[in-house]
């Protein structure tokens, strides 16, 4: 079991414990940082889990509250350097994305996040809608897949048409920022609250 310097550094940052103590805990925990934190806490060396930890990426956390305060969005947009995060263009981009999420009401960032049960349910509904139209099975499949594509473009933020220019998608908008800055720009996550709804 080799303990890397990166693991030791990470554990030190998260616990404030000394280097040798961190190395020992990591060896005992077979390199598992979470277990090593527990070991240091049990030994009374780390006081408590440092819940703030280290920010692993650059970017901005931004919010948008729609006038009336019944709808709000919290969003995180990542890039690679603080320099890019501090540009006015990056600030504008994350504000646009927060407003998009509030206005267009997506449920997910990307289609990979849509639960399989929800996709199955949508498929079933689309099929039922087409019943009795006597279409061949292969045509039916194509129509259902087409409807599913439309569904994704409604519930996945990256696939939605951009509210300020519907000739492009949100993904295109982010891709353009990526090209312009030369950095990987990633919409990491968002959450949308609607008053009185879970």
């Amino acid at each position: 079991m080799t303990i890397t310097a990166e693991q030791v550094r990470q554990l030190r940052e998260q616990t404030g414990a000394g280097m040798m103590e961190c190395k020992k805990a990591l060896a005992e925990a077979s390199g598992d940082v979470g277990k090593a934190i527990d070991l240091l806490r049990k030994a009374g060396i780390a006081k408590a889990e440092n819940r703030s930890g280290r920010a692993a990426a650059e970017g901005l956390v931004e919010a948008y509250i729609h006038p009336g305060s019944r709808v709000g969005v919290l969003i995180e947009l990542n890039c690679e350097t603080d320099f890019v995060a501090r540009t006015p263009e990056f600030g504008q981009l994350v504000r646009d994305l927060a407003m998009q999420a509030a206005a267009a009401g997506a449920d997910y960032v990307r289609r990979e996040e849509v639960p399989v049960e929800r996709v199955a349910r949508e498929r079933e509904i689309f099929r039922a809608q087409l019943e009795g139209q006597n279409k061949p099975a292969n045509i039916l499949d194509k129509i259902v897949e087409g409807k599913l594509e439309k569904f994704y473009s409604e519930v996945c933020l990256l696939e939605q048409p951009f509210i300020k220019d519907d000739s492009i998608t949100v993904r295109d908008l982010i891709q353009a920022a990526s090209s312009k800055t030369g950095e990987n720009v990633v919409l990491k996550r968002f959450v949308r609250y609607l008053l009185g709804q879970d």
Copy 2:
């Protein structure tokens, strides 16, 4: 199976379908509104699930972004009437709570939300810390429970000392607003993003 007027109203609001169609769908779905929506969609009557739906409570959705935009909080505070939600005091309360959640970094609203596995893990760590002190079991239990209380007051927003006046807890602060307005004031939910961390 009796279909209530309330169920019909709810279904109409969520689908835009007519009253008789809603009654029929509810009867078929044995009163299950979710199933009734699916039935209406399959019949092509409801176009798509109305994801916005109805706000079941009054209150405000508010956000706080800490200077630097590396930490942000989205929060929902409920009350009973729009009148109370629009008062400056209620607005100040929700802004204070959002700032509290950002600064003090709670993970949960109330202790009932802390996963049992996390409580078990904390207990285990507290016990290990006390090992070798040769204390009687009943004393040991009391110390562990005391440490657990402290843990709750750190991770549960309602149990934290209020950052602007640590002689009261956040729960006291909300309770005071409740007494003053004569309405049930409930901190429904919050989420906290720290840049680069899940």
